[in-house]
Symmetry: C2
Subunit: 178 residues, 2 copies
């Protein structure tokens, strides 16, 4: 498959940014390619198009499947696995956020709960001076609230979220710029 200049720019950029987003270049490029592709592609096509080793493609596809944004699609009369990316950007964003939450905040939330419980129980005797306790309580409060907010927003349908985002200004006014 030949990439048009437009596609190439997008693929290259996605690979570049991928590194900032915590995924590697190849994974980013493959995702970009599959997102743009009008039909599922097999591993060899992907490798040829991007000019990377097939082993690399195999590993990267697995990671994308772990993230839950790429899945196997079979093509009639073809033994090979084909792969396609989720196309709905909103749904995709949701899936990615879920995964990141699981990896990047859930463990911290859990630890903060434990530390706060410990600080409460142990009291100042266990070396938990008031200042530290306050800092830990603040941080826990923040993580708890963000988690709650996310889980509630998570339940909204895509059109509802979009509608809600578009409201923007009005929401701000409703809750005051105090």
């Amino acid at each position: 498959m030949e990439l048009t200049p437009l596609m190439q720019k997008f693929v290259l950029h996605w690979g570049e940014m991928g590194q900032r987003w915590g995924i590697n270049r190849t994974v980013g490029q493959i995702h970009a390619l599959l997102y743009l592709a009008p039909r599922p592609m097999n591993a060899e096509e992907i490798a040829d198009t991007l000019g990377v080793a097939r082993s690399n493609v195999s590993t990267s596809l697995k990671e994308l499947q772990n993230w839950g944004i790429v899945r196997i699609a079979h093509v009639m009369g073809d033994r090979r696995d084909h792969f396609e990316s989720m196309k709905d950007v909103w749904e995709m964003f949701r899936v990615i956020m879920d995964e990141r939450k699981k990896r990047e905040t859930d463990p911290t939330l859990q630890l903060l709960r434990e530390l706060n419980a410990e600080a409460k129980k142990g009291g100042a005797g266990a070396g938990a001076d008031p200042h530290v306790r306050e800092r830990l309580a603040d941080m826990l409060g923040f993580f708890e609230l963000m988690t709650t907010w996310y889980e509630q927003t998570r339940k909204m349908s895509t059109p509802a979220v979009i509608r809600f985002c578009k409201l923007g200004d009005k929401v701000a006014k409703m809750f005051g710029v105090s």
Copy 2:
């Protein structure tokens, strides 16, 4: 400065998670330490407390200052620089989000605008088939809306944001679970 077991756990965890958040272990640990510390600390204290080289501390402090969540604080009668972390978690989160937006989404937003303009101008002749154009338009729409939403939320005061987050359920109901 001796760390209590509680502080130690927090510092270690922050260093660990730092890597998932895209900062390195030492940077994470220093931030955790300064966040808990009741008073500004100098570079040597930090190095001794955490058991890392001073050069490493110097570099890490610079990065934290770049992020905008740590600043220099001078102590009367002491020539050395002391450092303190922002303590308000909400404000800190805002600063971090601003920085991440700048690094992780602004460049992509800009590129998507360019690509979409190109696709429109060039038309199918320039190799921009309808499917690709739609994908790029979708992605741009998503980034535009998220950016707008963020910039509006950004303006709200901390108490307003907290109030708003706590509403949770009600907001979802207002905009329908359709």
